[in-house]
Symmetry: C2
């Protein structure tokens, strides 16, 4: 058996590998590298789906998350109930029990999920560590019954297996989905905990009401900071500058258009028939050719011509930011900051993909004084808790001269009662890995984050300068007040005026016109 | 189109996602994040396959790699020719044009590739960036003709497309495979370059002759440091402590054994029939039950019992280290070190997987004096060039007190004319990501790397102490020699003996018995 092999023997051993078994063996790719992160990932995938579905259906989200510890220390039952549109029964097995299945992968639209892997990966992990099926309930209409499934995944085939299908009789919202899974995990408090993730999710989704039952019995309720649903994100066509040669070629083979000009102007954004004809001319391709019949050589010439041409930016109104007012409200409410400032920058483009940056900074109030500031990274309304050092958001933060804005800092990041939230929203978030924990550092993205931070910091700087001025003023006042009796006594000696009268006059004067201090800090900041 | 949607409308949009399109969109997962790394990754995948095939067939490998820059700056043609066993024609399309296809995924054996993704991912990237098919040639017998394929991948189906199939008439080894791909890339020299990768590959595979034509026209030949093929790595059965509940359950459903005892003792390593019966008794499962009919509850009880039991380590002779002698020779030859020391530690186990650590340190000679030392990380004979900071090997290196061994150091790593190679070999390398650039920091692995480094450093320390002693000695000698005339003159005055005679005697004495210096450094090292 262990002798040397011939080419034929080796060939005979080759076979197809199941995609589910591949991800089972490589589950760190999907965010299941350790027990505490696994708890977080399951919660995250379920919430992502609930919020995306509510947004698409135009429903104000109300989500209840329960995490219970079971008999053994390392086993948890997680459930997430939403009031979204629900899911039709026939769709449930595939949506939860098959990897690489979904509606978002082929769309260019801002959404939380983008790959069709998340919740099925959670089911796979649950099954791997506990052998238990997942329970899914759903109702799509208040008049209908509630369907209940018990699901497993056939990993060899990457297909769902329905263990049980029936009706559920308990209480349930008019419409919605309920997901319940058991898994091996660990529950910890702190900066990368599931508690922190849920808090940040509430901040990034101020339209959601979130109720959270932690494993230690604590119940936390995050109420809505707004009742207004965010502007709906729109699907757009790909921009020619974001399409690689290989994808361009495939699109030319799969298009419904019958001429090259129609293909270019119908299948891409920002290409008019006129510029399509111009591209054909420059590449010496007849504009009426059937795109399916283009030779590889012509496709490449066409593609190179288009890449070299100046083309209008993709439409940017397809994106949906959280919004300055709503962000400020959320940070004030959920993090108890005294002063907040937010900036939503106008959208920009990286590699043909529209994206935008929002920053909200909160200061003072209930924020802890003697700790590093809290840095909140959000991508398409989903908080990122792991891998900060490889993330564009953190990298941009570390280029900021915090001292310039009179902020305490340590290791290039702010220290003290401050929270800095950065939200990147885009039709395609360039995550550094499939576990979606960090954003790739495209120069365009870094630049926008820096500009947004600086915008916001100028406001904070002004506030801090004002605060400092008020402190200084009150210090001078109290100093002056302390010397009034002495001063009045001397004046009495010199002028003969009654010292009580002088004291009263001086005090009146002092409290009428506060001493003035230059707003030096505010002025300096305009220089950066 | 952009109004709110119902549950049914959303469900209608869901569909299956192609695994090839998934990896195309997420190609950073497979090592194609940037143009210079992409060049390296293609070369690496082709070499991995060539070396694995030669090893399996018992052939001394001879590999020729050519990288040529094409008309445009960013386009390269890469070819790799080997003298391996070749691949039968009918197997070629699937092996090169389908992701998740191969022979190594389901085996527990030390090999370079382990996932069945590598070379097909290279083809996918080549096609994506240039639209060109890949060329594959093969011959499995000197008497046969050479087959030539031009291959593409149908990404929507994850299936190969044969563009052309024919014969090749040019020169070719008796047996072997030739791979040629065009791709968008970048060529750079330096620490993470393809040049460096090939050099390190030669060091880690001293049995291979490697000829490399760089894009700048330079030709480098790495000759063999040994003619002895490494010991063949053997496949083993999974160890019960490395199997998760979900996998255990699946194995119980797919087994050919007809009783639980047979299942446990046939499908796992280190479980005897006797201990299998013992496990059944402890879990209250009848030992003669058909394992396919076990209830989930019983499976879990059985699994928990086994996890809690003390079981002998898996067989460790299935692994194949490079070997101390061969490593020392390679480092001396390819890196031109003056002194080398190597250690191959006996294998250990992490999570049921056997693994071993080898360390080889080279010092002095042609190694650069005023640079940071060179750290070479190798996993199953494949060099790792990226992501050092997240790699267990680098993490272990940074815990070493280099100063203790009288080595210069900077940022916790050695500085000066030193090269440190660490080789981790295992039936399953726990990479932190699918691009296989860093090894996960299991405590067992960290510990073994530290021990191997310390072992090796003691030898280096002794050598350095010896070197220092010799230097000190010769310094004292020359100092003494300098004063001999003066001393002889004084002696002549005092004793009346001829000073010439005294000088000659003293010189004779000096060169006969070198002055002795304590080997203090060597002693100290035994303390760590």
């Amino acid at each position: 058996m262990d002798g040397f092999k011939t080419a034929e023997q080796m060939a005979a051993e080759q076979r197809e590998i199941s995609v589910a078994e591949f991800f089972e063996k490589n589950r760190h790719l999907l965010g299941f590298d350790n027990p505490s992160k696994s708890v977080l990932t399951v919660v995250k995938e379920a919430i992502d789906n609930s919020l995306d579905a509510c947004e698409e259906a135009g429903i104000l989200p109300e989500i209840t998350i329960k995490i219970r510890q079971l008999e053994t220390d390392d086993r948890f039952k997680i459930s997430v109930q939403d009031n979204g549109p629900g899911m039709p029964a026939k769709q449930i097995p595939m949506a939860f029990g098959k990897l690489l299945y979904g509606s978002k992968f082929y769309k260019m639209r801002q959404s939380r999920g983008q790959q069709g892997i998340g919740i099925s990966a959670a089911l796979l992990y649950s099954q791997l560590t506990t052998g238990k099926p997942a329970t899914i309930r759903s109702r799509t209409d208040a008049k209908h019954k509630i369907v209940e499934f018990q699901l497993r995944m056939n990993t060899a085939k990457n297909e769902p297996t329905v263990v049980k299908e029936g009706e559920y009789e308990g209480s349930f919202p008019d419409t919605g989905v309920y997901v319940e899974m058991e898994l091996e995990g660990k529950y910890r408090k702190g900066r990368q905990s599931v508690d922190e993730f849920i808090k940040q999710t509430a901040v990034a989704n101020p339209v959601a009401k979130i109720v959270y039952y932690a494993p230690d019995g604590e119940k936390v309720t995050y109420s809505r900071a707004t009742d207004k649903l965010p502007k709906k994100a729109k699907s757009i066509l790909p921009h020619p500058h974001g399409v690689e040669l290989g994808v361009f070629e495939r699109m030319s083979k799969n298009t419904k258009s019958r001429t090259v000009t129609a293909f270019l102007s119908n299948d891409f954004s920002r290409v008019s028939s006129q510029s399509a004809r111009e591209f054909c001319k420059l590449s010496k391709v007849s504009p009426d050719t059937d795109p399916k019949k283009l030779e590889p050589h012509d496709i490449e010439k066409l593609w190179r011509t288009i890449q070299a041409a100046k083309i209008m930016k993709p439409p940017l109104d397809c994106l949906s930011p959280i919004g300055e007012d709503v962000l400020e409200k959320a940070i004030k409410k959920d993090l108890n900051a005294e002063f907040v400032a937010a900036i939503t920058r106008p959208p920009e483009v990286y590699r043909g993909n529209p994206f935008g940056i929002e920053v909200c900074i909160g200061y003072g109030g209930g924020l802890p004084l003697n700790e590093a500031g809290e840095m909140i990274r959000i991508a398409n309304r989903v908080p990122l808790l792991y891998e900060p050092s490889s993330c564009a958001i953190m990298k941009a933060m570390k280029t900021i001269d915090w001292g310039h804005y009179k902020l305490q800092h340590e290791n290039k990041l702010p220290f003290g009662p401050i929270v800095v939230l950065v939200h990147l929203y885009s039709t395609w978030i360039p995550y550094t890995s499939e576990s979606k924990e960090a954003v790739d550092a495209y120069p365009e993205i870094l630049k926008e984050i820096r500009l947004a931070l600086q915008d916001c910091l100028r406001k904070i700087g002004k506030y801090l300068a004002g605060q400092r001025r008020r402190q200084m003023e009150s210090k001078r006042q109290s100093l002056f007040e302390k010397y009034i009796p002495e001063f009045a006594y001397t004046m009495e000696k010199l002028t003969g005026e009654k010292k009580e009268k002088i004291e009263t006059d001086l005090k009146k004067l002092l409290h009428k016109e506060g001493l003035k201090v230059e707003e030096d800090v505010g002025k300096e900041q305009r220089k950066e």
